[in-house]
């Protein structure tokens, strides 16, 4: 099964990205990334730039709306996505619990929906 770990971080955690090395948070991420690679479960993923760098597009009643920043204005914002190949949701939750972001934000575990994709590809 393939899972997405959706990493949410607080503004404080986003700010830590500018810390000088050696930085414990970055060190923990480096180690986490390495563990996923070595365990042979890592499919892909990337961190995202800061929330304000984005823009949200929607069309309603024929009118196109473009809004600066993310769609939802919440304290924790999407900060990255990791795709993993794992045997079960329980194992996915174990990997989420190891993610350094859980202490400064949260990690949502969602299975990918290959069936939905297949219907698009038809």
């Amino acid at each position: 099964m393939q899972f997405a770990l959706l990493i949410y971080e607080s503004p404080e955690a986003f700010a830590m990205r500018n810390n000088e090395d050696p930085d414990p948070y970055r060190g923990a991420w480096r180690a986490y990334y390495k563990s996923m690679l070595e365990a042979g479960i890592y499919l892909g993923g990337n961190p995202l730039e800061l929330p304000h760098s984005g823009a949200t597009v929607a069309v309603r009643n024929g009118t196109r709306r473009v809004q600066d920043g993310p769609y939802a204005d919440t304290k924790e914002q999407l900060a990255g996505v990791i795709l993993l190949e794992l045997p079960s949701r329980d194992v996915a939750l174990e990997w989420a619990a190891r993610c350094p972001a859980v202490t400064v934000g949260s990690v949502e575990v969602r299975p990918l929906a290959p069936e939905t994709k297949r219907r698009i590809e038809e």
Partner: protein, 411 residues
């Protein structure tokens, strides 16, 4: 004892009496109906009824008997209400024994042992043994159990319902196994209690925070089991093992929750009464001259506990105990522990050689393996490989305090 302590002690004592009754009552009801879910439902209804009745009428002289009678009535009422044909021999028995007079305490047999064996029955999937016991015998809520097992509360709730359904439908017996079956069946019970304790690994670097909140519950379960099976040395071994580890609880965390590994703990912070109790249990178990996995694990902790008396750790003794464990109960944890002990007793080189003999595939997501490896490589001055192993150990840690500890070691 300060007032606060006294109050807390009283509170705990009351909680424990309630807990003991819960398990005894569920066990008695379920042993007759073979329906764990309905026994639990009936008892929670009886407890609710007590909340209204007791303040009004006063606490009955035999609160357990009162709860039992009320719960039985609920089971029978529900069976009638649902128009269920009372075909079940057990339910009929339950009805017949439901005399007008509530039974006195001695006539109300303790069926918890049967309940423990039912929860850890081979027909129930092994990963549900512990959650079932925690709920059925101790009355813990699904949400609390879920937290310790790192699954959402709703998921754990569903799994518990399914497991109880399985007990009923697969006809899991509520009985004490025959002598020929006993060792393996008892092993499953002990294993489930130990899993609740939540530490497969207490030493070098790895104590997982997960499940630790259940440590007291696990010790309580082991005490119940010892009370019910006083002649089984492995029960004593398990309780001794858990008490040794529990004795170090206060020493395991330093300022601001900093993780302190066993080797750096201040033995003056260990609980001497718990250590003494553990030692006594282990000595009693040894008298039976029937060694087992839990006695060996407790013996290892007993060697570590020598530091409480100002003595050095006898690593060769620990190596010998791990060697025996490898023969009778091999596991990844035991192999890793053996390598770590060898690293202390016979030098880092020997430890690393033992570690290299472990299947790398199996160890790829096993945190303690990488922590021990990092520690040994560092001692050998192999900094580059040590950093690599530290990274693996850090990346696999799910306890922020341990992650922090290892990050500092890695440098």
């Amino acid at each position: 004892m300060s007032d606060d302590n006294n109050q807390e002690w009283t509170h705990r004592a009351v909680e424990r009496i309630a807990r003991e009754s819960y398990g005894r009552l569920v066990a008695y009801l379920a042993a007759h109906t073979h329906d764990l879910a309905s026994a639990e439902d009936a008892l929670s209804e009886a407890l609710l009824a007590a909340l209204t009745a007791w303040p009004r009428d006063g606490v009955p002289q035999k609160p357990e008997a009162w709860l039992l009678t009320t719960a039985r009535h609920r089971i029978i009422d529900r069976a009638r209400h649902e128009n269920v044909v009372l075909a079940s021999e057990h339910t009929l028995t339950l009805m017949r024994t439901n005399g007008a007079e509530a039974p006195a305490a001695p006539e109300f047999p303790d069926e918890r042992l049967k309940l423990l064996f039912a929860c850890a029955h081979p027909k129930i999937s092994a990963d549900m043994h512990t959650p079932l016991m925690l709920q059925a015998v101790l009355g813990l809520e699904a949400a609390r159990i879920a937290q310790a097992f790192l699954v959402p509360a709703s998921t754990m709730g569903q799994r518990l319902v399914r497991a109880k359904g399985r007990i009923r439908e697969a006809g899991v017996p509520f009985e004490i196994p025959q002598k020929s079956e006993l060792p393996s069946r008892l092993d499953a019970v002990l294993e489930a209690i130990y899993a609740a304790f939540g530490i497969g690994w207490d030493d070098m670097a790895g104590a997982s925070e997960r499940g630790r909140e259940l440590a007291e519950e696990a010790i309580w379960l082991a005490r119940v089991l010892l009370h019910l099976m006083p002649d089984e040395p492995e029960v004593r071994g398990l309780l001794a093992l858990m008490l040794h580890c529990e004795a170090r609880r206060a020493a395991r965390r330093g300022f601001a929750g900093r993780y302190i590994p066993l080797s750096e703990q201040d033995p003056r912070q260990w609980s001497l009464p718990l250590i003494e109790e553990a030692e006594r249990l282990l000595a009693e178990a040894a008298e039976r001259r029937c060694i087992g996995r839990f006695q060996l694990e407790a013996a290892i902790q007993s060697v570590h506990a020598e530091r409480a008396h100002g003595r050095r750790t006898e690593w060769p003794a620990i190596v010998a105990f791990y060697g025996q464990l490898l023969r009778i109960h091999p596991s990844l944890g035991v192999s890793t522990g053996y390598a770590a002990a060898l690293g202390e007793a016979g030098g880092a080189e020997a430890g690393l050689a033992a570690l290299n003999a472990i299947d790398l595939q199996a160890a790829s997501a096993y945190q303690p393996y990488w922590a021990v490896r990092a520690h040994l490589l560092e001692r050998l001055g192999n900094t580059a490989e040590a950093r690599d192993a530290f990274d693996r150990a850090i990346g696999l840690a799910d306890d922020p305090a341990i992650r922090h500890f290892l990050l500092n070691k890695r440098g």
